[in-house]
């Protein structure tokens, strides 16, 4: 073990900032990161063991115990449940004779829940030893578990490959793209390298000027003007600069980056190269979520090809002195790493805890150097902006939100998938487009966004009305909004807080318990006031976007679906109900001493 671990540490130059990669390699090698491995890594990097453990224990996919020869991570997002996740989970448990969160007695199969894996358009889905199994049925679960019992390898159990590049032998994936609508920016015809060839004829100032002229705003959700971000970064003091691409798409319900990474990886890397040229960066990092690890070989091959074609590396496209290269940094399962400063921390091998601002990443980002972080989709759009000019882009969309947007649409609709639309699309038109006219509610921009009712279906998707990072979840009448959706979202936020800020660590669970009190029939009207007031503190007190929006599922449904909450309160006059249940409270002790409870 010592030799192997030392080799891994050497591979990353004994650099503490590469701890994530070291841990990923160690886990890939041994299936877990044992106590001995922790000691060896700590020795090798000359840090204390608790510093290694703090990173391991932060990420969902790292484990200090074996999670089985076959490790099954079954998505537990709200949409997965809509698509029959409960039956799939039950079948797995029955077939494996083991509960989720544990490993079979023989140590062969581990069953684990995981947050949205970016497959909402083909749920229920699981990741088994890194391979995505979409559209699971009870019979295919039985086949999979039987295969495991026979000792088959996971690739042997795979079914039909997906469309497009998914069937490329480097991807070899059963995932389908489900591209339902192509638009005029991302999916327009493009010859690889065109933008880079044009780029090198421009000055960095001209590049930033073109991006500014396009009025493009960050498409990850926050909507900060990209040109301005680049400008700030290029002006910030620093001897080195970095370009980071955020491919962590962890917002439940979004999967558009998956499709871009599969079909248009060139655009991402060209976009990063353009950003690098504009700000003067030599190094770029694509931060990719662990859930998309199956793309590793494929994306590496795309990078290799770009290097061969001189679109990456030294003197790019013949421009002397323009040097830039990209590495892929995998995450290990943490929604909060989609927050840009947490992403930087993760790239530096640390826990993904968001930083305090100021300073902003453009001033002090990766390794404390000026850093631009952009979303996958933003960088791809920039390629087209350089190709066709800023003005071309600015003509599309709305007054304050130029261009197009990729929507990841899932839930109760006929045609889930990815749609490239111009900003400003009306919710009602969108529902018609996807066969979701019957919607009871629409969750715009994922759990951290807002949940709207019919009366808001006339509203439009754009920053001046309903901003969206792309996740659209359609919720049908047959759903119990509070139980099936709001509680699921709160569970997500309870698990995904980094744990630093007190309110974000503590309140989501308190709020969830309050929801449960209502669902149990013990609610009183003042519980609704409490829910509202306490939820507001989340926004007021927390440091990062995750914490500030973690109560949005409650706040927006309280506002738009108040009648659903009030329906849970049987007696509206009642001013107090603790929900205390004597039968339940004495059950365990009566059983322990062997007597009949007498209430």
């Amino acid at each position: 073990m010592r030799t192997i671990i030392n080799k891994i540490i050497e591979k990353f130059n004994r650099n503490e900032a590469r701890l994530m990669d070291i841990l990923l390699d160690v886990q890939a090698e041994f299936g877990l990161i044992s106590g001995d491995a922790v000691t060896l890594i700590a020795e090798g990097l000359n840090i204390s063991s608790v510093d290694v453990q703090q990173t391991i224990s932060f990420y969902h996919f790292f484990s200090q115990k074996s999670r089985g020869k076959y490790t099954i991570y079954l998505n537990d997002s709200a949409v997965a449940y809509m698509m029959g996740r409960a039956d799939i989970a039950r079948t797995f448990e029955e077939e494996c004779k083991c509960k989720f969160g544990s490993v079979t007695e023989d140590g062969q199969i581990g069953l684990f829940n995981t947050a949205c894996i970016g497959m909402n358009d083909q749920e229920p889905a699981a990741i088994i030893n890194g391979i995505v199994f979409p559209k699971l049925t009870e019979s295919c679960v039985k086949d999979i578990v039987n295969g495991m019992k026979e000792g088959k390898s996971v690739p042997e159990m795979m079914g039909e490959l997906g469309d497009g590049e998914n069937s490329n032998k480097l991807l070899n994936s059963m995932v389908n793209n489900n591209i339902m609508k192509t638009g005029s920016v991302l999916f327009s015809d493009y010859k690889n390298g065109t933008a880079i060839n044009k780029l090198v004829t421009m000055t960095p100032k001209e590049v930033i000027g073109e991006v500014k002229a396009s009025h493009i705003r960050g498409l990850g959700g926050a909507g900060f003007p990209t040109g301005m971000k680049w400008d700030f970064c290029s002006m910030a003091e620093g001897d080195e600069r970095f370009v980071l691409c955020n491919a962590d798409e962890g917002e439940p319900g979004t999967f558009k980056d998956r499709v871009i990474l599969t079909e248009l990886p060139n655009l991402i890397f060209e976009g990063m190269t353009i950003a690098a040229y504009a700000i003067g960066a030599k190094e770029g990092i694509l931060y990719l979520r662990q859930e998309y690890h199956y793309m590793k070989a494929y994306l590496e091959s795309v990078l290799d090809k770009l290097r061969e074609e001189n679109y990456l590396g030294k003197d790019i496209a013949g421009k002397i002195g323009f040097n830039f290269d990209i590495r892929i940094q995998f995450g290990a399962g943490a929604y909060v790493c989609g927050e840009e400063s947490a992403l930087i921390e993760s790239c530096e091998g640390k826990r993904g805890e968001p930083r305090n601002r100021p300073p902003f990443p453009v001033q002090k980002g990766y390794l404390q150097k000026p850093t631009v972080i952009n979303n996958v989709e933003t960088l791809c759009s920039v390629v087209k902006i350089i190709e066709n000019g800023g003005e071309w882009f600015s003509m599309m969309g709305t007054k304050e939100t130029a261009g197009t947007k990729l929507l990841s649409i899932s839930g109760d609709c006929k045609y889930p998938g990815v749609y490239e639309v111009e900003w400003g699309i009306r919710i009602r038109d969108m529902l018609e487009m996807v066969g979701g006219e019957e919607a009871y509610a629409v969750q715009v921009s994922g759990p951290s966004g807002i949940c709207i009712s019919k009366k808001d279906f006339k509203r439009t998707i754009c920053f001046e009305d309903l901003p969206s990072g792309g996740s659209i979840i359609i919720i049908g009448k047959e759903r119990n909004l509070i139980k099936d959706i709001v509680c699921n979202f709160m569970d997500f936020f309870i698990d995904e807080s980094c744990g630093s800020c007190v309110p974000c660590r503590s309140l989501p669970l308190i709020l969830k318990n309050k929801l449960q009190k209502l669902l149990d029939g013990n609610g009183v009207m003042s519980d609704l006031t409490d829910l509202e007031n306490w939820s507001k503190n989340m926004k007021a007190a927390n440091r990062c976007g995750l914490g500030q929006t973690a109560a949005n599922p409650i706040l927006s449904t309280l506002k738009n679906f108040r009648e659903d909450y009030e329906a849970l309160i049987k007696n509206k006059e009642k001013d107090f109900d603790t929900g205390f249940n004597l039968d339940a409270a004495v059950a365990a002790s009566c059983e322990a001493v062997g007597r009949n409870p007498q209430i």
């Binding site: 840090i47 608790v50 703090q54 224990s57 943490a334 744990g499 007190v502 503590s506 308190i510 503190n537």
Partner: protein, 242 residues
Amino acid sequence: MSEKIKFTIDGKECIAKKGQYILEAALENGIYIPFLCNMKGVKPAGSCRLCNVKINGRNMTACTTPVAAGMEVESEIPELQELRLSIIEMLFVEGNHFCPSCEKSGNCELQALAYKFQMLVPRFPYEFPIKEVDASSPKLYIDRNRCIKCKRCIRNIKDENGKSYFAFYKRAHDVEICLDKELAATMSDELAQKAMDTCPVGAILRKEKGFDQPIGTRKFDKQAIGTDIISVVENINMEVKE
């Protein structure tokens, strides 16, 4: 001498060194802003969120935000005091804070804040979480029931090579502090004392020590937290020169 700038807290004129954090500057001007995770001389964490102040209508933590010239800071306003009290209450229900049996009672900063805000009962239900106590190291006793995850120990207690004795473990609701066993085995008495003094609550205690101050003579028995702050600024107009 570093450049001095003027700003105000709740309308009171204050001065700060350029680049100084609001919280630090406030203390020097004799103004107390409640906090738990901050510690003089230690890089601010901004994690307890108690020192949230309002600047241009936006909440910012005073411990991590540098003063800007002319900045108008609001601190003791009902909205923020209410927010602070609710954070204190969250800390009381998310841990197991049995004050009557705690060695730190009377000297505990969390308890002192509850006294200052006259918290009679938290508005939130008690969680009574299950937490491990770690008494495996020779000098220290770690009681995670009382830990408020302020990270002061993580930031302040290092060995001569800069290695951390303490670190976070796990995340979200389950986050806890861990003491490095190997380093703890050779910890000096001085460092153990420093660790205990660094902890604002009773989560890090020296072994074979405790309850040595009678009730009535402890730090916060008679004097509220933050009332002993003395301004070091003598004359604002004299100190700020062009």
